[in-house]
């Protein structure tokens, strides 16, 4: 058994959220540099260069890359041999979010109908997973909602097959067009149930950009989808081009004989994503 003080967790997660608001992951920057070389539209190339310049400037000045500093989504993997001390872990994670967002934009309303700003960007959305061992691993997404708003989930019958899956993903990106701030990272969940398919799509956004599924048929689907999306013509910021998506990450789940659920979670061209282990 290992004891972890939740005050240490609060400190570490607060710093992580603060840092990733102005520092985009290296795998994204590398994917954008590659995309800049692949893009054939001069305007598209300029948009990619501008976004890279913006990332460098934000990092140097320690100001957020995007004004939408997002809603904090935390994925917590807790080893079953961990014991938390010094308070409640849930409260510590909300405190960490409050700390980090003191200087970031408050983009959360406490109730979807009453729409009053919570004033401190809480609550963070927290997903728990109990795993083996005595480690604690926390991954964060500070999700901008321009892209979240264009994301979709749909429960299909199995008869739509892989072709229907592809069509749904392509339709989603086509409808999103310029709204979701392409070049996009496209997270796709297939299978499971209404609740878990959305989670699979979101978790797919945690993967390093361009990482390939370990399952051959899924890896092939990821490649086919990326080609199809980049043939839509939408391009960087929707101003035309051959780079509409940087990557498509697909996660599959066991499902019921009666269903083929699909979720498509879009991430804009400002993926605020980070991971820490304690």
């Amino acid at each position: 058994m290992r004891t972890i003080d939740v005050r240490d967790v609060r400190q570490a997660v607060g710093e992580l959220l603060r840092h990733s608001a102005h520092s985009l992951p290296e795998d994204y920057l590398e994917a954008m540099r590659t995309a800049g070389r692949q893009e054939r539209s001069p305007t598209g190339q300029e948009v990619i260069e501008l976004l890279l310049e913006n990332a460098a400037y934000a990092e140097a000045e320690t100001i957020p890359t995007c004004q939408d500093t997002g809603m904090a989504i935390l994925f917590v993997e807790v080893g079953q041999d961990v014991h938390f001390s010094g308070g409640e872990i849930y409260a510590a994670l909300q405190d960490a979010t409050r700390d980090a967002y003191a200087d970031l934009r408050k983009s959360v309303v406490s109730d979807p109908l009453l729409r009053v700003n919570s004033g401190d960007n809480t609550p963070a959305l927290i997903h728990w997973e109990i795993v083996g061992g005595d480690g604690l691993r926390i991954s964060t997404l500070q999700k901008g909602f321009g892209a979240e708003l264009m994301s979709r989930v749909q429960m299909f019958p199995p008869a739509i097959g892989e072709e229907g899956v592809q069509q749904f993903v392509i339709d989603t990106v086509e409808k999103a067009g310029p709204n979701a701030c392409p070049p996009l990272i496209v997270g796709v969940g297939i299978g499971g149930s209404l609740d878990t398919v959305g989670m699979a799509a979101k978790k797919a956004l945690l993967r390093p950009i361009g990482s390939v599924s370990s399952e051959a048929h899924v890896a092939r689907l990821e490649g086919d989808l990326l080609d199809a999306l980049n043939g839509l013509g939408i391009g960087p910021q929707g101003l035309g081009g051959v780079v509409t998506a940087l990557a498509v990450h697909v996660e599959v789940l066991a499902t019921h004989i009666a269903a083929l659920p699909i979720a498509v979670n879009l991430n804009c061209s400002a993926p605020r994503r980070a991971t820490l282990e304690l």
Binding site: T43, N54, E61, P64, C66, G233, Q237, G240, S269
Partner: protein, 191 residues
């Protein structure tokens, strides 16, 4: 080199702008997004005086992040314009001449731009730190309780924009997408 457009916009400037064109804007514009639009349109319905001028003015759909100590404003890139579509017609009817955001507009809004002689500009979403550098002054004008969604008066200088929908029915997003769609590239390489 992108030409300069002055805000507020005069009719000649509006008429001269063409979809796909790149411009830089200098002058006074007004920041307003979802919640501010809802209040503005409700106030208009009640016949109340509005906290900002509308005729010839430019509205920027933005909710800036907090400013760093000593900075004019925090990162301030465009938000998705389509969410403002349900509130846009009454504003165009009152003479608003320019809209800045990102993403597609409804057919209704596009037609209203033609009818009322107004332009929709796109700023590059996510280039927010760089865009904030082109904002020289920011003044809170109304609805401070809305935090980042409050209405602000902004002085911008050489603020980089693309004309997306012009007052002649041109649509840069649609044209660009057609040009680069798979199988449609032959026509593009010579551009």
């Amino acid at each position: 080199m992108a030409r300069t457009v002055r805000a507020p916009l005069d009719e000649a400037a509006v008429r001269s702008l063409r979809a796909g064109e790149r411009v830089v804007m200098t002058g006074t514009i007004y920041a307003a997004r979802d919640a501010a639009h809802k209040r503005l349109v409700a106030a208009m319905k009640r016949g109340e005086e509005l906290p900002l001028p509308l005729s010839g003015q430019v509205i920027y759909y933005v909710g800036p992040a907090p400013a760093k100590q000593g900075a004019v404003i925090g990162p301030a890139g465009p938000t998705t314009s389509g969410r403002m579509d349900p509130y846009t017609l009454p504003l165009l009817e009152r003479g608003v001449a320019g809209l800045i955001g990102k993403g597609s507009r409804s057919e209704e809004v596009k037609q209203a731009l033609v009818r009322h002689g107004a332009v929709y500009f796109g700023a590059v979403g996510g280039a927010s730190a760089l865009l904030a550098r082109q904002i020289r002054r920011s003044r809170l004008l109304a609805y401070p309780d809305l935090l980042s969604e409050a209405i602000r008066e902004l002085e911008v200088e050489d603020f980089p924009l693309f004309v997306i929908n012009d007052c002649h029915g041109g649509d840069a997003y649609l044209a660009a997408r057609e040009a680069y769609r798979s199988g449609a590239e032959g026509s593009q390489r010579s551009r």
